[in-house]
Amino acid sequence: MSGVLLRLQAGIAIVETGLPEGAFKPARAPVAPPDLAVVNAGQGDSRSKIVPNVAWPTAPSISAWERGPLPALAAWREAPGPAVVLLGSEDPRQLVPHLDQLRLIAIEFPRATDGRGLSSARILREEYGWQGELRAVGDVLVDQLAHMARCGFSSFALRGDQSADVGRAALNRPVPVYRFSVAAAAPFGAERAVS
């Protein structure tokens, strides 16, 4: 089984296939289409279904990139190499003294609902001028790609079940967005002045 890497080159997404196992999160199990009659009938009293506590993974879902192993931050500190993967909870500023030695910084998205890595990306790009490859890994879903790209990610290790074509189209379709939010140097988006 091999995975798909989408890579932005001069703002255009290209598809690279053959990402090795361990370098992308495997596909989730297939799901059946929803029954609209059930959806439209509502969910009744859903109070008992609320589970307030949320468990988060404590380690990245991946351990490799196409050029070799991809250590998590603690392991990378022991043996610094050209690539490292950060959790959303890990401060990217820890890497700042070492940016010159790095070629790839990957940031884990354990779920699409964890947006911490988006702040990590902007910190590295906009505050510290990191120019190297910034890769989204984990639950990298096609609907999140545009946001990730605008925050400065330049490559995307799609989760195993995600469509490379849909993902590439999402990255290459110019989406109107207001300016203000991210630096004009962000490699994506048809931003405009307000006047």
Binding site: R28, P30, V31, A32, P33, P34, L36, V39, N40, A41, G42, Q43, G44, D45, S46, R47, I50, P52, N53, V54, A55, W56, A112, T113, D114, G115, R116, L118, S119, S120, R122, I123, E126, E127, L141, D143, Q144, A146, H147, M148, A149, R150, C151, S163, V175, P176, V177, Y178, R179, F180, S181, V182, A183, A184, R192, A193, V194, S195
Partner: protein, 551 residues
Amino acid sequence: MYQHDAFDRSLIAARAEQFRDQVARYLSGALSEDEFKPLRLQNGIYIERHAPMLRIAIPYGVLDSRQLRALAHVARAHDRGVVHFTTRQNVQYNWIRLEETPDILAGLAEVGLHAIQTSGSCIRNITTDAFAGVAADEIVDPRPYAELLRQWSTLHPEFFALARKFKVAINGAAEDRAATAVHDLAFDLYRNDAGDVVVRVKAGGGQGRTPRLAAVIREDLPWQHLLTYSEAVLRVYNRYGRRDNIYKARIKILVDALGADAFAREVEAEFAHTGTGPALLDQATLDAIVARFRPVTLDAPAAAPVTDLAAAASSDFQTWLHRNTAPHRAPGHAIVTLSLKVPGAAPGDASDTELETIAALADRYSQGELRVSHHQNIVLPYVRRADLHALWQEAVAAGLAEANIGLSTDIIACPGGDFCALANAKSIPLAKAIQLMLAPRAEEVGPLRINISGCINACAHHHVGHIGILGVDKRDEEWFQILVGGRSDNAAALGSLAGKAVHRDAVPDAVSRIVDRYLALRTPGENFIDTVGRLGADPFKDAAHRVEEAA
């Protein structure tokens, strides 16, 4: 109001098309339930108790008659003919079919309406004073700043997967009509000694199960940093807000845990980076935004008394004038509030035909513009005083002249257990019962804010109601806690609990007893909340509690 150009329209249309694709992929099974949920939420769709619900954004509560007619059309064509106005200046449809939502949003996009970020763990619709731009006590018109916040927060890529929802309010008047104290992030606009517009920044307010009033984290912030400072606050929250428990994920918990001072230091440290970023504003940008607001003509004669003899003679009209109009900044004008709180009807609901009538009134009397207030009423911001009697007569004919703004029958209520999947209790029947009980003496009782939430999530802001009522579940029966002394204005305070919970059937009597106690204790001309302020909540707790024991 802010006029959309081709770019704004293309953004909303693109978003609607994107959502159409997401719905199609969900229906095909390509998107799982868990994957679709945050996507539909960020387009305002909940799956409620009996049907999907669709929430449409009314940015800072401003809309025009054309948009109101479009909302009426959706109510007729896709719902059961009803629109519900919410406490966040939005509107909701409670009987929607999921597969129709792409067409609904495409239709609304044609008039500049959308559901972007009306739910989900992101920056929600920006809210402000419903009298913004027209209030006599206004210091700075907050609308251009609210519009800047809207543009900045719309599809902001860094903050679309926060730990929890994030609500922002902005106020520019002497009186806080925007309930800023109970928002995640809030701004007061004012002028410094040099006459420049500056901002007071407050963070960590909120209601729900851990009610907190927002703490001031920055004074005298130059307005040019409104967005860069917001970005610093949001970044601190995005990175450090708790994600291990959904009940502890709002920014108020983070501000509490760090302490407001330490939180402010974290923000300042982040601001050192964001302060020079792309969100930094300048005068040209603000001017460009201001220029996009449609000019209004306010040239009524300054004197403009209400001279009509019939008008002068009608005590009903005089009462309505007293209760439902507010001072306007422009001579010869008034701000009119149309009440959506007719006793016995669901608070904040309007039928499609009522909306059509209101749109016509706006066209005739208010230059086609309206506001949604967070009190769930409709405001006509540009009425000439000379037109007030004619407007009132038309409103009377349409059943829209209830003269109860700010009174005890102007109840704020959430949809509650009739619709909401999270509710412990039904708010609407209780609101009706209390309204009908208090209606005969509402004028005598005077200003009294009653807020009824069907559950701890506090959508109806019960913590800041003068009398707050909260639905709780006891052995599958509906019981209600009663709070006294909350307020959301400049003297914002959280209500305190008046004894143990009361059975549903006993609540109107308990409220009535509290009102009796107030009438007995008040000094001449003293409002309910001021009597509570003078005497404390204890006398009122006692009143509620005696009923509870008797019940």
